[in-house]
């Protein structure tokens, strides 16, 4: 066949694996990790030089974890997140993450993450879709227990019929937990939000978990340009004593508290404790605003909003599609602005009230059936804007949103033509004809 003999396995297939080259000295696999230098968050986020690489969203999350001085990462596979935690496992092998294991399922993972955070170490995990919902009992308890954690949610379909494709309806379940929730548009956001997430979550006046969501596959499995700091630097370690609550002393567990908790009794004290507890959680969410502004440059980004005929408000992949819709509208002579919501909790209520004060038409495209963002937007600007809000277009079950659908909504919204894609009941504000809505509701 060829000039040298080819080794084959018993089936006759060529053996293509290559043995590791012999090395004289034993190389420490943790050598590079040990050389990493701690820098301040200010230097890391604002000053450190960055270089651009073309990588997947999962790789971007891995690179963020590499620079974040993570103590404990717990994996449990589910598509489309599996590659992410697998790559974090590689970091463990290289010594960048101190402890790493695979849990038995998401209930156990979220409970173990709670234990790790309560014990005072920096924790990271990731899950997706059905895994998020399976772990939700634990996740919903993290904020109340004031546990700084960063968890990534690579959204996929959770409602029937089930699919592994991107649909971000699971975000709506996370919005009411009391945690901080970011929604990444692309690989760069995955990187930035994850790193900033650790820093924000551990500030004393925050002490809350951060959820970094993205739309699976579109972000996790696709490549994009990511500007990253040198891998030789990392964030300072978690200093648990700075947190709002003391860490768990495993030698002297507060057994009495859990055995005789007043919150378990239905009486005035229980309700009172619950009220102040939840008030404090949501007040901490509010206090995170200043850190999101500081480390991420704002809860939203706004482009070309001043004087625009219409504004598209979107988050996640819908923001990426909306950028193209703005370009197509420009080619048609329409001046359209774009607001990308980066932080869903806290929600940029004041910012939207200010930006949408003079808007006439707002279009909210989404990758889910229920339209959770449109509801958030409408609630936030109610009474502060007279804009007609089109809650759509929407795609679900994993479909990609054709950019042309967004353009159609902008055009029909501006001309008053009936939309072919968005139900009348999903159009809010402005001069909606109640008879038309009634007719629509009768005929569905």
């Amino acid at each position: 066949m060829s000039e040298t003999e080819v080794k084959t396995n018993p089936q006759g297939d060529p053996i293509t694996s290559v043995a590791a080259p012999p090395s004289a000295a034993k190389k420490d696999p943790h050598a590079d990790a040990k050389r990493q230098k701690v820098v301040t968050p200010e230097y890391m986020f604002h000053e450190a030089p960055r270089t651009k690489e073309f990588i997947t969203g999962s790789e971007a999350a891995k690179e963020a974890v590499r620079r974040s001085n993570v103590d404990l990462a717990i994996a449990y596979p589910i598509t489309p997140q599996s590659e992410t935690m697998q790559l974090v496992g590689v970091l463990y092998g290289e010594g960048y993450v101190k402890e790493y294991y695979r849990g038995e399922e998401e209930v156990g993972v979220m409970a173990a993450i709670a234990g790790g955070s309560r014990a005072g170490v920096r924790c990271y995990t990731a899950t997706a879709g059905p895994g998020t919902l399976r772990g939700l009992e634990g996740i919903a308890s993290w904020p109340g227990h004031r546990l700084p954690v960063v968890a990534m949610f690579t959204c996929r379909v959770v409602n029937a019929p089930l699919a592994i494709q991107p649909d971000n309806i699971e975000v709506s379940y996370l919005l009411n937990c009391g945690m901080i929730v970011f929604h990444a548009e692309n690989q760069q956001d995955m990187f930035d939000f994850t790193m900033a997430g650790f820093t924000i979550s551990e500030h004393n006046d925050v002490t809350l978990p951060v959820g970094v969501c993205c739309d699976g596959f579109f972000v996790t499995h696709a490549r994009g340009y990511v500007r990253m700091q040198d891998r030789g630097i990392k964030l300072p370690p978690r200093e648990a004593w700075r947190g709002a609550v003391p860490v768990l002393d495993a030698e002297n567990p507060p057994a009495r508290l859990s055995r005789d908790a007043p919150v378990q009794k239905s009486n005035f004290m229980a309700y009172n404790i619950h009220a102040v507890w939840q008030q404090e959680v949501w007040a901490a969410v509010e206090r995170s605003r200043k850190y999101i502004n500081k480390y991420l440059g704002g809860l939203l980004t706004a482009e070309n909003v001043e004087g625009a005929e219409a504004i598209i408000i979107a988050s996640g992949s819908a923001a990426a599609q909306s950028r193209e819709a703005v370009r197509l509208c420009k080619e048609k002579g329409l001046n359209v602005g774009l607001i990308k919501v980066r932080s869903l909790r806290p929600f940029p209520t004041q910012e939207l009230r200010q930006l949408c004060g003079k808007a006439k038409l707002i279009v909210v495209p989404e990758f889910n059936y229920v339209g959770w963002l449109a509801k958030e937007v409408a609630t936030a600007i109610y009474g502060f804007s007279k804009a007609k809000i089109i809650g759509g277009p929407r795609v679900y079950g994993g479909q990609s949103m054709p950019v042309e659908l967004i353009v159609d909504e902008v055009e029909s919204g501006l001309t008053g033509k009936k939309s072919t894609n968005v139900a009348m009941s999903q159009i809010m504000g402005g001069t909606v004809n109640p008879d038309e809505v009634a007719h629509f509701m009768r005929s569905i």
Binding site: S2, R223, Q321, R323, E324, S400, M401, P402, E404
Partner: protein, 238 residues
């Protein structure tokens, strides 16, 4: 205004639809443009439907996911049309007005009259291109069908060059080791055994690509200012 093409490629498993789209995408980036790709297929099996979506532009691309409304569709196998082996039916669904359909077939196909009428209404340009025939003639095998199509579409869009395509083939088979899946890796080793040496594989693939490029130029399908690609002198001397 940005030069922008959203390309939907439909073929059947084993034809290298995904590999072809990676090569085109890399070639556009090699020539200084921007490009993204999204592959789409079910369980990997030969002759089952495969789609791949490539966006090419001279400006930044933000859009993600499947392409529903393409400027260009490439049909790798006539069975996509005749047997409905496609995730998108009819094969031209969503094609923009004045769009291009590049179809791998030795001559014009007998389309259903409703489909022909609809394509006419869209003012679609139907380019029937004998990619498999060219692959057999130039490389002696049908496995380079995808290369012929990529050469042809490179000239039609004018967003890359033969040098960019040549480099992309080398990136794919020599260097950066982008492996799409285990199945594709296995296929690679089969392809490598058929060609005696990798170098020969690359030369033949590039030769098929060049034939596709020149076919587009000769037929008048190519973008403005796109010239015929000449064979490198060294290769001609062999």
């Amino acid at each position: 205004m940005a030069k922008r093409f959203n390309i939907r490629m439909a073929g059947v498993g084993g034809q290298g639809v995904v590999t072809g789209s990676h090569i085109l995408s890399t070639a556009v980036i090699n020539a200084g443009g921007e490009s993204t790709i999204v592959p789409f297929y079910g369980s990997e099996k030969r002759m089952a439907p495969v789609e791949s979506y490539v966006r090419v532009s001279d400006e930044a691309i933000y859009e993600i996911g499947e392409i529903t409304f393409p400027h260009i569709i490439i049909i790798f196998h006539p069975q996509v049309i005749t047997h409905g082996k496609s995730y998108t039916m009819p094969f031209y669904f969503g094609l923009k007005d004045d769009g291009i359909a590049l179809i791998n077939n030795d001559g014009p196909m007998n389309l259903h009259r409703d489909q022909a009428a609809e394509l006419k209404q869209k003012r679609a340009k139907l380019y029937y291109f004998p990619a498999t025939k060219i692959s057999l003639e130039v490389a002696g095998m049908d496995l380079a069908t995808n290369m012929a199509l990529m050469g042809c579409i490179g000239a039609i869009t004018g967003l890359t060059s033969m040098a960019g395509l040549d480099q992309a083939v080398k990136d794919r088979f020599l260097g950066k080791g982008f492996v799409v899946s285990g199945g594709t890796a296995a296929l690679d080793s089969v392809v490598e055994r058929k060609f005696k040496k990798k170098q020969e594989l690359i030369e033949k693939n590039v030769a098929v690509m060049r034939a596709g490029w020149n076919h587009a130029v000769d037929k008048g399908w190519a973008a403005k200012d796109v010239q015929r690609a000449e064979e490198p002198v060294a290769a001609a001397a062999v």
